[in-house]
């Protein structure tokens, strides 16, 4: 029941619009089936399945908007939810920023749904987790992990005839493997639309190797270091950039994209020329819906080219105010997540090659607990975790204690020495990066 086809969704939405008597009406329908296993101490700790579907109706009179929703789908319930939205709209204050409903749009196709992922059942999940546990048990290590798969759809329709539909699948896996003494820890995580790309055993082997090789970490002085950030560490940092592309905050003088003296940094060389950033909902490695929640088509967009800011994100309202075309940031990977969907083209170097050309530096597996310290410079703080190593003379010398950093991804992307090969890391496609003068401010005893 939870996953409706395009035709089934369209039929329900048409029926709902048919009941509407307001000036404009916008209807959204979504459904999802999810299943997961969580494990720790080499055994399953929790596991579950859930199924949801609901319908949301926004009725509009002039600039007054009311929204109501329901999770029952008989005719009486559908009529009730439309009536309820219309009653709320009549009571609502005017929204001066309300934008009229869009006319029908054309959308590109995106390969977000994969049948084999949709077919995952509890036994398949148990088998995939079994592959991970086999790795930790074979090496007398301890694993804690999480495997989650979902299939879902969403559809929207408005009273002007706009209709959009997308169904998608996702499988996400992460595991932390630690040695029994608690002196070493490793981690891997990734997400895919296609379960065929996920090998939980192979990923777990990487985490197990890190758990073994990170044991016995030595303390080195905090300070500025050349760092090699693995793709996970890069995605932890650069995901924060996405929020700054909002034109309105930049125009209002309250983002790192705001310019001293007024205006935005559009057209400025804000990053090293090796850095380009774009989003593309049809990218086969990171597909996402090709429309936003208002029905605006989402297309491939270049935000930064050779370090120069090329585009900012404009909502329909802000675009009208500024006399430009609306430009959505996009659905971003699987969902509308912050930073999701960013793509940074890389180079050809492997991680090993990047290490071999480093005289003195620190290899970072991932970061943890990153929070904004100062939004005007995008200064972030956080810590390294699950495998931090000292490099000298082109070789990893020994594991080091974790550091706290205070660094801005804007500054970091000005200090780029080298980019490796771009890969998917969660909701983002990024290369490993070699960065000079990365600021570590203190040591942590955490393992």
């Amino acid at each position: 029941m939870a996953i409706l086809s395009k035709e089934e969704a369209q039929a329900i939405l048409k029926k709902v619009i048919g009941y509407s008597t307001s000036d404009e009406c916008m209807v959204s329908l979504r459904g999802a089936q999810e299943g997961n296993i969580r494990y720790a101490r080499n055994a399953v700790s929790t596991a579950g399945e859930s199924s949801t579907m609901d319908l949301s109706v926004s009725a509009v009179y002039g600039k007054r908007v009311g929204t109501a929703s329901i999770n029952e789908f008989d005719d009486e319930s559908l009529q009730k939810v439309v009536k309820r939205a219309e009653e709320l709209a009549k009571l609502a204050p005017e929204n001066p920023e309300y934008m009229p409903a869009l006319d029908p749009q054309q959308y590109e196709e995106s390969p977000t749904y994969v049948e084999s992922t949709a077919a995952i059942d509890p036994l398949k999940r148990a088998e995939m987790v079994g592959d991970s546990l086999a790795v930790s048990k074979a090496d007398s290590l301890e694993a804690a992990g999480f495997l989650n798969n979902s299939k879902g759809f969403r559809a929207i329709m408005n009273s002007k005839g706009l209709f959009a539909y997308n169904k998608s699948t996702d499988v996400s896996f992460s595991v932390t493997i630690r040695n029994q003494e608690g002196t070493g820890s490793g981690y891997v995580s990734n997400s895919f639309n296609d379960v065929a790309k996920l090998d939980t055993g192979a990923l777990s082997k990487i985490a197990a190797t890190k758990a073994k090789t990170s044991a016995g970490a030595r303390a080195i002085e905090p300070g500025k270091y050349t760092v090699i950030l693995e793709p996970l560490a890069v995605s932890d940092m650069v995901g924060w950039l996405a929020r700054g592309f909002d034109a309105r905050s930049a125009d209002e003088g309250r983002s790192y994209m705001s310019k001293k003296g007024g205006g935005t940094r559009l057209g400025e060389q804000l990053f090293d020329e090796k850095i380009s950033i774009y989003t593309d909902p049809t990218n086969p490695e990171l597909p996402s819906a090709t429309w936003d929640m208002e029905g605006v088509p989402v297309k491939k967009t270049t935000w930064v080219e050779n370090g120069v800011v090329k585009n900012l994100e404009y909502s329909r309202y802000w675009a009208a105010q500024q006399g430009v075309e609306p430009l959505p940031f996009g659905a971003g990977g699987r969902g509308f997540g912050g930073g999701g969907g960013l793509i940074i083209p890389g180079g050809s170097a492997s991680l090993e090659e990047m290490i071999s050309t480093t005289e003195r530096g620190v290899l970072v597996t991932r970061f943890w607990y990153i929070r904004s310290v100062d939004p005007q410079t995008l200064l972030l703080t956080g810590l390294t975790r699950d495998g931090t190593f000292y490099i000298e003379n082109g070789k990893i010398q020994f594991p080091v204690k974790n550091f706290r950093f205070n660094e801005s991804p804007v500054i970091m992307l000005n200090n780029v020495e080298e980019l490796g090969k771009t890969v998917r890391s969660g909701n983002i496609l990024v290369p490993p990066m070699k960065i000079r003068d990365f600021t570590f401010t203190s040591l942590s005893d955490a393992i």
Partner: protein, 545 residues
């Protein structure tokens, strides 16, 4: 309130706070209609029995069922505009079982007898599928059945019965006050939660509870276009386990000082007026000189340091490794607790866990596995004496009684160990904030919580704040900018020099504390009086881009 819902509505309503979007959209309803839709207890008991019987028939050795209706209301505004009003409702059933020694869970939004029986069977199937990966069977602490009981939060005014117009009018007045007092931008919001939840288990409990929470907040921004700088200040409110009475101020709840702070009731208009003045001063304030300072921490700030450095490392599931892949583990390992002499802090530091404090976010009658709530010690005279544990963990501590701190954010998420209120006890001797500051030679007085980050075992942390005042030779000499302090948990709590008395004790809290996979949100309060810590490392966070 689920964190992803909150972020979604926050993103809709509070764009300038730069919160991320989320994939969820609303299930808004008319709140009054929702209240009318309450299901009577007899029907819930009948439905619950269907779940318990179906689970047992399929081979479960234990089962519990939660039938929940969760109401949320959000009003978001900026300057002269209402950005969003949403009433959302979520209703359904979650069933947790033990079969073949392993946990299984399933949930459904369809709450009919047939659907419930099928969901119970699915939960048992999930448990059996995973049992082959299990090394040790689940062991539950004994728990008496309470029969049919109920608990209601002692609120004075039900937020969901206050007309939306009153809330919109208040927020518009808040925004107008900010703009009149020199702010360039202002966002404001009120969020409210009502959890109507029914719990039943094969131990023989049938528990009906009604829980309320409220969270007013604002963010005032002042921009200096010439320098390209901007400064913000958030509300000094706290989310509370209260009704709308929290927003009906009383003079006796105002704490006078450099800036007004609030106890049981909150004056949103008074606070925003001061906030607009604060940002004007903040944008001209001098940048801090890094180094060692004594920090004097107001409860509106200290709650978050307690939350991160005491609340999280004393969670037993973290200590045991159950959160290793997400929230992290803990430096407070079992050997430190067993030694009986691990000095977490000095002898001034007494920290209690509590699920009963009136008005707090964590207060309920019974937890989400049917255990009656209570208070217990975590840190006694500086020594680690206990953890936070639930039914399937407490045997590891050699105990036979759960602490009663199990929680799930909704009917469709499985319940697990969550932080109770964790609070620092006030000093026993009379001490005011003014007297505390008189003893400080070189220090910083910090009000309000800001940026926060701590490592996965809770050793190394860094905190910012909302307002920073420089103290020189016992006197406040002006405001500072770009302040953050870094420390190590054990060193920090051993540097506790003085704690103000009970008259300064106030609650702060988190409306959306995240833990678990899939991630779940819970709300938790932390009480403290103003406290001084000596020789803390302060860094300067200013940068140029």
């Amino acid at each position: 309130m689920k964190r992803k819902d909150f972020l979604y509505y926050s993103a809709l309503g509070m764009g300038s706070l730069l919160l991320p979007n989320s994939s969820l959209f609303a299930r808004p309803i008319d709140p009054l209609e929702a209240l009318n839709e309450r299901i009577d207890v007899a029907t819930k008991k009948e439905l619950a029995d269907v779940a318990l019987n179906a689970a047992k028939a399929k081979g479960a050795t234990y089962a519990d069922v939660r039938i929940g209706r969760y109401l949320n209301q959000y009003v978001f505004t900026r300057e002269k505009r209402v950005q969003g009003i949403s009433n959302t409702e979520s209703y359904g059933v979650g069933i947790r079982v033990i079969a073949d020694g392993c946990w299984g869970f399933a949930a459904s939004h369809r709450v009919t007898k047939d659907d419930i029986a099928q969901t119970a069977a699915l939960a048992v199937a999930v448990a059996k599928a995973n049992a082959k990966l299990q090394t040790e069977p689940v062991k539950l602490a004994p728990q008496e059945g309470y029969g049919e009981v109920s608990w209601k939060a002692p609120i004075a005014v039900n937020t969901f019965e206050v007309p939306i117009k009153d809330k919109v009018d208040l927020l518009m007045q808040v925004n107008d006050t900010a703009m009149q007092n020199g702010a360039n931008f202002v966002n404001s919001m009120i969020a409210a939660v009502n959890e109507q939840k029914y719990f039943a288990s094969t131990e023989g409990s049938y528990i009906d509870q009604d829980i309320h929470r409220i969270y007013p907040n604002f963010n005032v921004t002042r921009v200096d276009r010439q320098s390209g700088k901007f400064q913000t200040r958030n509300a000094l409110s706290s989310p509370m386990g209260m009704g709308y009475e929290y927003l009906q101020p009383r003079p006796e709840d105002k704490v006078a000082g450099l800036v007004t702070r609030y106890k049981g009731r909150y004056d949103m208009l008074g606070d925003v007026r001061e906030a607009a003045q604060n940002v004007a001063e903040k944008i001209k304030a001098k940048s801090v000189e890094p180094g060692k300072y004594d920090v004097v921490l107001d409860p509106s700030h200290l709650w978050l340091t307690i939350h991160e450095s005491v609340g999280h490392p004393t969670e037993l599931d973290r200590v045991l490794g159950y959160e290793a892949n997400y929230a992290g583990t803990s430096f407070l390992t079992l050997d430190k607790w067993k030694s009986g002499n691990f000095n977490f802090g000095n002898e001034k530091v007494n920290i209690v866990a509590d699920k009963t404090q009136v008005g707090s976010l964590g207060a309920v009658g019974y937890d989400d596995e049917g255990v009656k709530c209570k208070q217990w010690d975590l840190i006694k005279n500086g020594i680690l004496v206990n953890y936070q544990a639930i039914r399937d963990q407490v045997h590891i501590l050699g105990g036979t009684e759960s602490n009663g701190c199990c929680y799930s954010q909704g009917w469709d998420d499985v319940q697990f160990q969550r932080m109770p209120n964790v609070s620092l006890m006030p000093g026993k001797e009379k001490l005011s904030v003014d007297d505390m500051i008189k003893d400080v030679e070189r220090g910083i007085y910090i009000v309000g919580n800001g940026s926060f980050s701590i490592d996965q075992q809770r050793y190394n942390f860094q905190f910012g704040g909302q307002l920073f005042y420089e103290i020189k030779d016992g006197k406040v000499v002006g405001m500072l900018n770009d302040v953050a302090y870094q420390s190590n948990t054990q060193e920090f709590w051993n540097s506790c020099a003085a704690i103000c008395d009970e008259s300064d004790y106030r609650l702060g809290g988190s409306f959306n504390d995240g833990k678990g996979q899939p991630s779940q949100s819970s709300a938790v309060s932390h009480g403290s009086a103003t406290t001084r810590f000596t020789g803390v490392n302060v860094i300067n966070t200013a940068r140029n881009i």
